[in-house]
Subunit: 501 residues, 2 copies
């Protein structure tokens, strides 16, 4: 009996590993597409990726695999750990089964077309070129909410795809609490004397920026034997397994911050991937918990660590040695203020830690309306421009730096944006817990030592894979579920001191 059963759990693992291998092959093709693909190669690369996706879908929905899962779930002999894995795989399997191959193909084709027209629309700096394809994509995503099933609000079905258990009710409540607090803090800051960040916009040569970024990444613990960094238009992280994690950055010779904090941000993502348990490759226990938790890791390193005075206490002399002409006469305290300047702006990815969340809330409200059907694609630019005026006091000069700035919708990724805010909230809460649990953490950071923090994250977050939801993980790591007061307090402490409020 036991022998027969063990063989079946092995079969289950073997099948999942095969799926993971193909998914990761697909990820290699995507990585290459973003960084190295020659112009004319795009068409057939798209087709090659579609064929691979089809193979992944076929393997993921194989009848025999379903039988193995059901058989395993009937037994009482699995360890709790194994049972959790199989339950999650059964959830995944059942969900995949609900999609018809026709729908999968149609969605994939529409996404390819939309991505292309998004690129075109950006060139024309006009939403119009994108509208028709996006409209069709929204129609399909609304259809998908029916396929996935939901309670109360159709948007819940999509939110749940990126952050299990996340709902409109929960986000409405959270943002309702957040918005006035941020607004009031922003108003206070706007009455203060503004700090200067002009020194960040001097000329910083490309090669030296690259070298500094690589040095930084290495110090933070990125394992270059298990990953690499390259250049791309938009920084991202991808992982083919914990021993091959790839990050990218971009270098703007007149904006030093762009490279630096994208390096730290992506390293945060990468440390999570490099820290996943190797023996669990392909299984839920070897995957990241959720996008919100993933983002918490990038934000924790980028902001809680990478924008702190403690961190730069150690790093700044090194940075000055890299750029003596640009920074030799800038005091650390001024550097710290400059890199933390609060200033409403048009572009989400360049926003400061405070105004960033207005960008997210605007997208959240917009997506919610699009998916419930109270707004259509046609309404997007007007809604967008009005919201930017209202919440950030920004006039949008054209759609390219307005509602065309993010790639997400062209990929059909509705429900993704809120995880960026959730990530910040979790990050703040995790960092407070880490400070409580690691004696002398801040002094360690002040002397350039982040190993203990990394180890703590490994134990509290990385090692659990996807076996716990974000809320369960948060409870285990911090003693309570998500509480945005940690994030608000972090901002208050930081900006009160910095702006002398």
């Amino acid at each position: 009996m036991i022998l027969r059963f063990m063989a079946t759990y092995e079969q289950y693992k073997k099948h999942l590993i095969k799926i993971a291998d193909l998914k990761n092959a697909l990820a290699v093709l995507q990585w290459d597409q973003e960084i190295y693909l020659p112009l004319k190669g795009a068409g057939l690369r798209g087709q090659q990726m579609a064929t691979l996706s089809e193979q992944v879908h076929l393997l993921s929905t194989e009848e025999q695999f379903g039988n193995i899962l059901q058989d395993l779930l009937k037994k009482d002999i699995l360890t709790a750990f194994e049972k959790k894995n199989v339950e999650l795989s059964w959830e995944d399997y059942s969900k995949q089964k609900r999609y018809s191959p026709d729908f999968v193909r149609l969605l994939s084709e529409t996404i390819s077309r939309s991505f292309h027209s998004w690129i075109e629309a950006r060139k024309l700096r006009s939403f119009e070129r994108f509208e028709k394809d996006l409209d069709e994509l929204i129609r399909l995503k609304r259809q998908e909410t029916g396929i996935l099933g939901y309670q109360t609000h159709p948007y819940n079905a999509l939110l749940n795809e990126y952050e299990k258990g996340c709902t409109v009710a929960l986000l409405d409540k959270t943002f309702h609490e957040l918005r006035p607090a941020l607004q009031s803090l922003l108003n206070s800051i706007m009455t203060c004397e503004q700090v200067s960040d002009a020194f960040l916009h001097q000329f910083y040569p490309k090669q030296q920026q690259w070298d500094f970024g690589m040095d930084l990444i290495r110090q933070l613990g990125f394992d270059f034997e298990a990953g690499r960094q390259d250049l791309s238009e938009h920084p991202f992280t991808t992982s083919f397994n914990k021993n091959d994690v790839r990050i990218t950055t971009r270098i703007d010779e007149h904006n030093f911050g762009s490279m630096t904090w994208s390096c730290i941000h992506e390293t945060g993502h990468a440390l999570y991937e490099q820290g996943l348990p190797e023996s669990e490759y392909g299984l839920p226990s070897g995957e990241f918990a959720s996008l919100g938790i993933h983002e918490s890791q990038s934000r924790l390193w980028e902001n809680s660590v990478g924008r702190s005075l403690s961190f730069w206490n150690h790093q700044y002399p090194r940075l000055q040695a890299f750029f003596p002409e640009q920074l030799g006469t800038i005091a650390l305290s001024d550097f710290y203020k400059g890199i933390n300047i609060v200033k409403p702006s048009l572009i989400r990815t360049e926003a400061d830690e405070l105004t960033y969340h207005f960008h997210i809330m605007i997208r959240y409200e917009l997506e919610k309306s699009l998916i419930e059907g109270s707004l259509s694609a046609h309404d997007i630019p007007a809604f967008w421009n009005e919201a930017y005026e209202k919440y950030l006091g920004q006039k949008v000069p054209d759609d390219k730096i307005g509602c065309l700035q993010d790639v997400h919708w062209s990929h059909g990724s509705f429900g993704y944006f809120p995880t960026y805010s959730l990530g910040s909230f979790y990050a703040a809460q995790f960092f407070v817990a880490a400070q409580k649990q690691i004696p002398g953490l801040v002094s360690q950071i002040m002397s350039g030592q982040t190993e203990n923090l990394l180890q703590w994250l490994g134990q509290r977050i990385y090692q659990s894979g996807r076996l716990f939801t974000s809320e369960e993980l948060c409870l285990k790591a911090t003693g309570e579920t998500l509480n945005i007061q940690y994030f608000l307090q972090y901002l208050l402490d930081k900006y009160r001191k910095m702006y002398d409020l």
Copy 2:
């Protein structure tokens, strides 16, 4: 009737395209492995490639696909062109059917392991680290000869995989004719006053070499919108489709020739791939004819064009402008002699056009013995070192520049080397035919114009895909089948003039 039939030919095409998509995905993973893979990523990358290989094999041997092929072959309604395609696919299918999925996976995994132990062995400069894995690989390749089937000699089964119709009998005969002719020419040259190539070994900075190479490639017609060049330890070409062809080069700052002729060589391969008919993607009519023909394209550009006085007549002033300090005082005639110097040496890829074939003949004899079982992996270093002493008068100082110098065996590519010699023979014969058929070809080359040559190759070679064997192609392009006298005459003419024999 016709409608039903057409649908079936479309089914055939559709299935082949799907296989091609997965094979090309695999090629992307291989390319990345050679150039960008981090150290620790090797293990799981090997597994991912094995899983993809398995999927390719499953698709290639699907029962239903076999039925489509058989059904099509029974009909009399296919065009001759279509029929040829289907016949070749049936051959491929029948061959694939002979492999068990277990064997495919085992071979793929053993290759990944061997590749990495080859890398390790090279670091240690000792064959010992590689021996065990290579031994296992040879065992599998010998097993494969039984799977493939053969007449007379097991090595024929493997030779046939790279060059259809190639046999031990044919190669024995060819090399038997070649060896004394080359030996006699080499002996004459060795009695002459040696030319100098010292100027090639001055310091040539990396970036300038790269720039010159890129310029050269562009001039030869490499389409950078349908491909790219990168750096790798060993130069190679790979293609994911005619619109995405990747070549690599290596740069040695004290050996200018290494970069230059590897660039031209790989461009020759790439022009072939970029010139394949787009509409035939995935079909035999869209694939290269054989490895010998592929190599004929690289050799034709590298040697017949790229080492000719006519070619450098145009290029040399440009080169001098890139490197005035290094080459400003070197006359074209001395440059020409230096780049064509005949000098027995240890490394195949750096050998001159004459001694090169001794390197191949040594590998050929060795492989033949390994596959027939009269030698084992353990015997390789001794056999190698003795042969290099005997044929090239070279003492092998260590295995890295001895029997570990080529990647081929670690890839399981036994039977591949002879195509390098065949490629040279075909190249010489093709170039004579091209000169006859293109009026003023040499003067065109003298003024830097190679478009007509490229067009000629496109029409005579590229456009036929794999519909003809090497011998058929050669007959169509040159009016006769392979005749090594063209190659011998080419060498005689060149060296008699150069060494004043």
